[in-house]
């Protein structure tokens, strides 16, 4: 299962879901789906998020054994 730190890092930088979405060119809802783990983003979107949140992709997303 894909886990992520999007919510934690977004809070650290004080972004709202809408603000983060705007920076990576997606809707607020898509950020919410990613944070809830409902949706696994593409590599392109993952790279964009990692860039905005200033971390490596591997530190933002990782696989967890079920």
């Amino acid at each position: 299962m894909l886990r992520n730190r999007v919510k934690e890092l977004r809070a650290r930088y004080g972004y709202t879901q809408s603000e983060l979405g705007k920076q990576v060119d997606v809707t607020r809802q898509t950020i919410a789906f990613i944070e809830k783990g409902e949706f696994s983003p593409s590599i392109t979107l993952s790279l964009k998020l990692a860039k905005v949140l200033q971390v490596e992709v591997g530190d933002l997303f990782w696989l967890e054994e079920e």
Partner: protein
């Protein structure tokens, strides 16, 4: 998102389908003759059928006028994502980014599953039993209603979760 016309579009469809269901009563003329064994009983219901057809036609015209005004208003407010009333592609698809495409696909998959089961089942029922024409039309409309309801409920569930 609640104001997004694409979100409420299935509700419009469902309203149109309900009106069509009433209209079907007049067009299929199923109430005209009711025959009982031994003594024959004939019920003339053309007046009722005519009234239902006329009322449904008026309701349809009123609804389509409101719908076109609502669509025009939406298109004015959202010039970047206009919806054409004559588009072949269902306008309720929300595919503005990969997350929205993902939930749209999930909703469409549920609808597809529903159609896959209901249509052959309905065809079988129609083949096996002498069902009046009105009920066949109602059955088809019920499938169309169900398809819109499933899509709407699924999209609403996802978007509600995203709002929490």
């Amino acid at each position: 998102m609640k104001q997004d016309f694409r979100m409420t579009y299935p509700l419009w469809n469902m309203a149109f389908i309900l009106i069509l269901a009433v209209m079907a009563v007049g067009f299929t003329s199923s109430f005209v003759n009711v025959t009982k064994t031994e003594a024959s009983l004939s019920i003339e219901a053309q007046a009722l059928e005519g009234f239902l057809t006329f009322a449904a036609l008026i309701a349809y015209l009123v609804l389509i006028t409101i719908y076109l005004f609502a669509l025009q208003s939406y298109n004015r407010k959202n010039p970047g994502k206009k919806i054409s009333p004559f588009s072949m592609r269902p306008p309720e698809y929300m595919e503005q980014d990969e997350g929205m495409t993902f939930i749209t696909r999930k909703a469409v998959q549920k609808v597809y599953t529903f159609i896959t089961w209901t249509l052959p089942f309905f065809a079988l029922i129609v083949m096996l039993f002498p069902i009046p024409r009105l009920f066949i039309v109602w059955g088809i409309l019920a499938v169309a209603f169900g398809q819109n309801l499933i899509y709407y409920m699924e999209m609403r569930r996802h978007l509600k979760e995203a709002a929490e």
